[in-house]
Symmetry: C2
Subunit: 369 residues, 2 copies
Amino acid sequence: MQAASLSPFTAHRVPIDLGERSYDITIGKALLADPMTWDAVPAAASALIVTNATVAPLYAPALASALQTRHKAIYSVILPDGEEHKNWQTLNLVFDALLENACDRRTVIYALGGGVVGDMAGFAAASYMRGIPFVQVPTTLLAQVDSSVGGKTAINHPLGKNMIGAFYQPVLVVCDQDTLATLPARELSAGLAEVIKYGPIADMDFLDWIEANLEDLMAREPAALAHAVRRSCEIKAAVVGQDEREAGLREILNFGHTFGHAIEAGLGYGKWLHGEAVGCGMVMAMHLSNRLGLVSPALVDRVTTLVRGAGLPVVGPRLGPDRYLALMQVDKKARAGGIRFVVIDAPGSASVRSAPDAMVREVIEACCT
Amino acid sequence: MQAASLSPFTAHRVPIDLGERSYDITIGKALLADPMTWDAVPAAASALIVTNATVAPLYAPALASALQTRHKAIYSVILPDGEEHKNWQTLNLVFDALLENACDRRTVIYALGGGVVGDMAGFAAASYMRGIPFVQVPTTLLAQVDSSVGGKTAINHPLGKNMIGAFYQPVLVVCDQDTLATLPARELSAGLAEVIKYGPIADMDFLDWIEANLEDLMAREPAALAHAVRRSCEIKAAVVGQDEREAGLREILNFGHTFGHAIEAGLGYGKWLHGEAVGCGMVMAMHLSNRLGLVSPALVDRVTTLVRGAGLPVVGPRLGPDRYLALMQVDKKARAGGIRFVVIDAPGSASVRSAPDAMVREVIEACCT
């Protein structure tokens, strides 16, 4: 569990075991420009790199160059950057590019960017001709530890986040640690929110490790980041391998997300980063777990301190309890019987349950000042 | 194989064997208004009936009434009728209805209508919250024998038909023969195109039967229609059971569709009905099969006579060979290496192959005058 045991210069594979939809996550340095990185991708005459205006100038030329021996024709489409563009209009730019270039069922989509690019490119791959192969090339910490793994793809609807999408697995995920060097500090912190998440829900040893190595992580020490990505992917792989379509267990990966989505929707998508909302949402979910009598105030404080230390907000926006409840009601985790929250049952263990409205209001009042 | 052996008053089940995604097709009379018809549908607090402006007044009240004991809340959304509305804008009306009514992951969608309603409701069900259950209630012959079975869902893109969609299986298909009584004659013929299709590609005995019973079918004799639906579904079930995601064999179900889609796209979607274009497309595909040396002129004539007898066009629109080729090139059956056609290898047997452009031009010249 020590970072020192993993050289950041040796590529590491984390297998995702999903039967015929199994694939590997490759984690390492200098992967993107290396043609051998892409050996597991099915042969195809054409490929489409889906990226955004921020990432394209940094990494698209190197990726296209590394793919030249694999695909005769390599097209690209550059989407506007930001969660507020994760909608049908932007998705349609990908379909336009596929059709204008006469791409077929074998064409491979490469999603080069953060979570928004991965979600949209993945849903485009799931839907174009009812499914074509795609590769995740996450360039943000958040995408490397969470959104690029497990096959959730989606776009937003004006009435709710990630409401339209598919479970659709990539054929390969490549996490090149070098791409994290250009990440804005705010996005590094947002990614750490999803890293921290894996501690309370699944692995208290990992929580210890994050606390002990937070300074190195914030300083982008490559060995520390590589270990954080690897362990996060291992935990996520274990959960997704047991519950690909989120029939039950997988929901625990949404720890902090019920409150977090309400924050994002309430402020307008894009105001807070997804990871920032999740960071604050985890603090709120810890408070709820405590009020439900499941965890000690000490663990609430510990997670709060870690979230704050990662440069993330721990106090929610003052939308008012009514607005929070209304926003959470429409969240996809809602079902007949009330809003469903991921709570911590005990250190390193999570479950999904509803909570009395009055208690949720108390949490909102206490955490959003 | 005699129609007399099947009473149209006894509901008949055709199982679709797809492992954990298996389901039944129920074929019979007076099914829609019978609460017992829906026993296999998963329990859910809410349901959304997706239908169109033509079908809604005829059958939506009876369906809603039959479902009252199963679902506490039954919502409906009425789409504009016609292939030209099979697009994202119309699909979004379904998402709006789902979200405005706070529908959740258990909500059941009922697709009540023809192929367009089924394709759109199915893709909405596949995509809403990454997948909710849906039931196909096809009210046209075409939908009963083809589009409601097998899990293909899609919408059109301005640059191509059915380009955006999903393989997504319903939990139940209910073919109520009574709904065919209100079908316009032109749509009955369009449905017969897909019935005829199953003969040359899979079952020459069935082709004999269709020829012998064409008059009864055109007169909507219930026993004849019920047998045609049942045998068509059995053949389709056998093919889809072997190749759910159209990796190979399933493509033979697209007999007549490569030319047919070009006709539809070339004239503008909605000018010819899908079944009309497929009817004419089958005649063209028979000519191509003959020119490839695979079938006799006698079989070409036989299929042509049957298509004509079913009230379908056997002469294509004069778009010109260049336009046909350009339209077929972008069709999803196209791959590197040329346009792919389903051809008849021998009576009752089909395969997929490319053909020399010059030969395809000859077929177009001969069939589109």
